[in-house]
Amino acid sequence: MSPERTPLFLARRSYRRRRVADAARILPLIGGVLFCLPLLWKGSPASDSTVQSLVYIFGLWVILILTSAIISRHLRLDENDRDDTRNEHQGPGGA
């Protein structure tokens, strides 16, 4: 019952924000796949040591944390702006 009333194409700023939200959605999927990567190393004698996996996993973990921090900071701007515009049209929400 709620067809998209938003315009088909967006300004550069709003376009960028949408893509940041997309990145936030895709991040856990990428992280999940990358965390499973060590499973593929089994069998190759050169690279299935615990130390190597340890370094890989914790390195990936740090990268994920940093990426998440950056994305979340940009999403903050996004949310505030959108709330403002909504408030202009509808007044404060019912809550």
């Binding site: 939200a21 965390f35 499973l39 299935d48 940093l66 998440s68």
Partner: protein
């Protein structure tokens, strides 16, 4: 002093510190100074209850047994937090807008406020969490015993059972003290959250300290440590793919559905802002928690004697090296992990048990008790306290029965699989409008049954609960029903086996049940609100009001939320509707708002049922259904709008009729007063005239007679003067020509004076006061204020018809407002007269006592001049008047300055 004694002392000091911190945080929040209590950092730290003692000690043991696999338990939550934009944001938004109190409440709320679902979720949560609590008790006693074991001076080992009992008792006390402060589960438990945040810091610091000691103290740096790992028993990365993926998914699911995680993630969340910080800060916390796990495990395997419990390496490594200080710190870390988990789990479970099991039963057995008798608030709080005690007692009993054996060690993952059964109903409810109550019930029941049969019951060992024959040949001799090899899936890891089958069957039953059933109207309405939580921030109304009695609603709300909050809510709603006083029109919007507010205290299902008792059934209006049923014809939409308009008109007409009635009554009273006043003026006049004529015309009056007649004339004149004074007083007040005489004094002295002037108590009239509350300094026109008090007290004395008549004078100060309530125990004032009692010349009924009906009108004018208000307070047992006065008004301040 021996190490063991030192440990006990440090432990006690730490507990005292926790109580102090919780108490201080509660106090700060109460004084309104606690804005930092609501910060994102505290929120992130409170999430750390995910890391229980099972993590603190068990992760090292896990790593010592199966290498890097332990890390999956932290990768799952990391992925969930990183992907907060998808799930958590929606969950938190819905949780706040629907005032959700627990995961059971959320699921029941989504599927048409079904209490059956809530009970099911509650029972499953209790079954899954009880062993988990037992595990925490075990870890504390084990670590205690580890200390005692190394202490040569300790005469006897402390009794494990009694240690566990002390810990359980202390935790119950703490949780009851700080976890049931307020009934509204949506209000944050500041004290508890603060204590948990502190414990989060302690356990992280402790684990990092042990890690640093192991890496740099025992192994000689990072390089040698890595070499040591290369040559250890867990050097090869030998992880089964299914367990790696399965456990990561399992921990991600459990992170969302564990009752205690739901409590801190959703219920105690106050703003989206917190999620933004936690999105990276909590994964960082998890990463730091697991950073040193492998080194500790490897060094432990290397240095400890064979057969040492790897679960206790965190503790025994420093002990063996003689680092008692570090060992005590490590003990505190484990103690913190255990206690914080138990506290929050007990709060979450007790909320669920009291809201979804105890309260519905109590309401059922006390019939219409919500309206008639009993204090719901006390019952609810008591239920919650008893539930906390009950949950901890269950945990302790489980610990004793299982004997603290190894069976407990595996319980962490088993509990995870149990609570993961909530996930299909939870996520399906948030993202799929087609999900129905039938589907959710079917999925939950089937999933829980498979979990019990394949994982929980077998965990007690063969022949403990399930006989050996069932393990070997399946239920009723059916080979495909063997609990470890359901449908012939042999050779799988038991946890993954149970996870796969339970979730597969759960999801299938959920989808099939939803597709085949048709939802109730209320379900569809809730479904639309949950799924479209971002598109339609304001919810459509749920009640068709009109029949409801606002006063009944107020009485009920007072019993649940407490008098002050309820009155504030009603007064605010009345203000928005433009109605004076405490009783708003029972419009659908207001009923919806009231239901939400009540849901915060007793859960959605109970709140719905209680309002239903008063309003009477009709829960979904045509208008609401129209919003749900998408493509229905425009004409029906139009007719429903017409209906809504006509309802609006009916309401307006009722308000107009009310206004008209008030006017008519006033006019009748005015006529009545005119004849009354002519009568009142005429009677003394007649006697004055008669007696003065006698004095003038009679010659031989004795001095006695003369003085008697003169006295009569004098008395009558005094009476006339008093009446005219009142009238003059009123007109002066009304015209605003009055001059205030500002003085300072205490309320107690003022009330003393007023009570004396009104005739004191005695003669079957008693006044009850709480002098401790009356120590308030006032700066206002004390004489005028006393006039108001005297009037209210003497009114109660004159009109209260109870024997003995009792007048309660209650004083409260809130938000810079002095509130004095005068409540008597008589039959009160009928609702239809509330509007007119403050009008001039109004006299209720044919009263026995004399009076021109000017007293309350004068009171109202005086209070208006003083910047306060006097109003009738409905919903009490007898007549009740409320005087409110700002403690320092601008007007008074301005007058003082002049």
């Amino acid at each position: 002093m021996t190490v063991l004694n030192l440990l006990i002392l440090v432990c006690l000091l730490y507990v005292v510190l926790l109580f102090t911190v919780a108490f201080a945080a509660d106090r700060a929040a109460m004084m309104g100074r606690g804005s930092w209590l609501r910060s994102s950092v505290v929120y992130t730290l409170s999430l750390s209850i995910y890391c229980t003692a099972w993590t603190f000690y068990g992760a090292v043991g896990f790593a010592a047994r199966s290498g890097l696999e332990f890390v999956t338990i932290y990768l799952g939550p990391t992925l969930v937090m990183v992907g907060w934009w998808w799930t958590l944001r929606r969950l938190v938004r819905v949780g706040r807008s629907q005032r959700i109190t627990s995961i059971a409440d959320l699921i029941s709320s989504r599927y048409g406020k079904s209490n059956l679902l809530a009970v099911l979720v509650t029972v499953l949560a209790v079954v899954a969490t009880t062993p988990y609590i037992a595990l925490q008790l075990q870890s504390v006693t084990l670590s205690f015993a580890a200390f005692a074991g190394t202490d040569p001076e300790a005469g006897t080992l402390p009794d494990m059972q009694s240690t566990a009992l002390w810990v359980a008792g202390g935790l119950a006390l703490f949780t009851i003290l700080f976890g049931t402060r307020n009934l509204d589960a949506n209000e944050r438990h500041h004290g508890v959250v603060m204590a948990i945040a502190l414990e989060a810091v302690v356990k992280l610091f402790a684990l990092l300290a042990v890690g640093v000691f192991v890496v740099w103290g025992l192994s000689g740096g990072i390089g040698p440590t890595l070499d040591r790992i290369e040559t250890s028993a867990i050097a090869r990365f030998e992880v089964s793919g299914s367990r790696w993926v399965g456990l990561t998914m399992l921990s991600a699911m459990a992170f969302l559905t564990l009752p205690r995680m739901f409590q801190v993630l959703v219920v105690e969340n106050e703003a989206d802002e917190h999620l933004r910080t936690a999105a990276w800060a909590f994964p960082a916390y998890l990463m730091l928690m697991s950073l040193f796990v492998v080194p500790i495990a490897v060094v432990g395997l290397d240095m400890m004697p064979a057969g040492a419990n790897p679960d206790l390496f965190v503790l025994t490594l420093p002990l063996m090296e003689g680092r008692d200080g570090l060992a005590i710190l490590s003990f505190l870390g484990g103690f913190s992990s255990a206690t914080s988990m138990v506290i929050v789990a007990a709060i979450a479970l007790s909320t669920m048990v009291s809201n979804h099991v105890v309260m519905p039963l109590w309401l059922h057995y006390s019939g219409m008790a919500a309206v008639v008798s009993g204090d719901v608030r006390t019952v609810a709080l008591m239920a919650r306290r008893l539930s906390i005690g009950g949950v901890l007692f269950l945990g302790y009993v489980y610990f004793r029965m299982s004997g603290g054996g190894t069976a407990l060690a595996a319980i962490g993952l088993i509990a995870f699989v149990g609570v993961a059964q909530f996930l299909p109903a939870l996520m399906g409810g948030l993202f799929w409008r087609g999900a129905t109550r039938t589907g959710a019930l079917a999925g939950l029941v089937l999933g829980a049954a498979v979990w019990l049969y394949c994982l929980f019951l077998p965990s007690f060992g063969p022949s403990a609960i399930l006989p050996q024959t069932v393990f070997d040949h399946g239920l009723w001799g059916q080979g495909w029903l063997r609990p470890r090899a359901l449908f012939g899936a042999e050779g799988m890891d038991p946890v993954i086996h149970a996870l796969m089958w339970s979730l597969l069957l759960n999801v299938s039953a959920f989808i099939l049940g939803s597709l085949l059933s048709f939802p109730q109207p209320l379900e569809r309405l809730q479904g639309a609100q949950f799924v479209n939580s971002f598109d339609h921030p304001s919810a459509p109304g749920g009640w068709s009001g009109g029949m409801a009695q606002s006063e009944d609603l107020l009485i009920m709300a007072q019993r649940i939320m407490g008098a002050r909050e309820a009155q504030a809510l009603f007064a605010a709603a009345a203000g928005r509707q433009g109605v004076v006083g405490y009783l708003p029109e029972p419009s659908p919007d207001f009923l919806q708002e009231l239901e939400r507010a009540l849901a915060g205290s007793v859960g959605a299902a109970t709140a719905h049922a209680m309002i239903g008792q008063i309003v009477g059934g009709a829960a979904v209006s045509v208008e609401d259904l129209m919003a749900v049923a998408d493509e229905t014809a425009q004409i029906m939409e139009y007719s429903s709008q017409l209906e809504a308009k006509s309802q609006e008109l009916a309401r307006t007409a009722r308000q107009l009729r009310q206004a008209n009635e008030t006017l008519t009554q006033i006019s009748v009273q005015k006529d009545g007063f005119l004849s009354q006043i002519s009568h009142e003026l005429r009677t003394p006049m007649t006697s004055i005239r008669a007696f003065s004529e006698i004095l003038r015309d009679t010659e031989d009056l004795s001095p006695d007679e003369q003085s008697k007649y003169a006295t009569i004339i004098h008395d009558e004149t005094v009476r006339l003067t008093r009446l005219l004074d009142d009238l003059l007083d009123l007109s002066v007040l009304e015209n605003g020509q009055v001059e205030l005489n500002i003085q300072t004094g205490t309320l107690e002295a003022l009330l003393d004076r007023s009570v004396r002037a009104a005739g004191g108590d005695g003669d079957g009239f008693r006044i009850r006061r709480v002098r401790a509350n009356e120590q308030v300094d006032l700066t206002t026109d004390l004489d005028r204020l006393a006039q108001v008090f005297i009037n209210l007290i003497s009114n109660a004395r004159k009109y209260c018809d109870a024997r003995p008549a009792i007048l309660n004078i209650r004083v409260t100060v809130s938000d810079g407002q002095l509130v004095v309530d005068f409540v008597d125990n008589g039959s009160g004032i009928p609702t239809d007269k509330h509007a007119v009692i403050f009008e001039k010349f109004s006299r209720i009924g044919q009263t026995r006592a004399s009076g021109a009906g000017l007293g309350l009108a004068i009171c109202r004018e005086i209070m208006e001049r003083l910047g306060g208000e006097v109003s009738y307070l409905p919903g009490q047992k007898g007549a009740a008047f409320r005087v409110t006065l700002p403690l320092m008004t601008d007007r008074v301040a301005a007058q003082e300055a002049v």
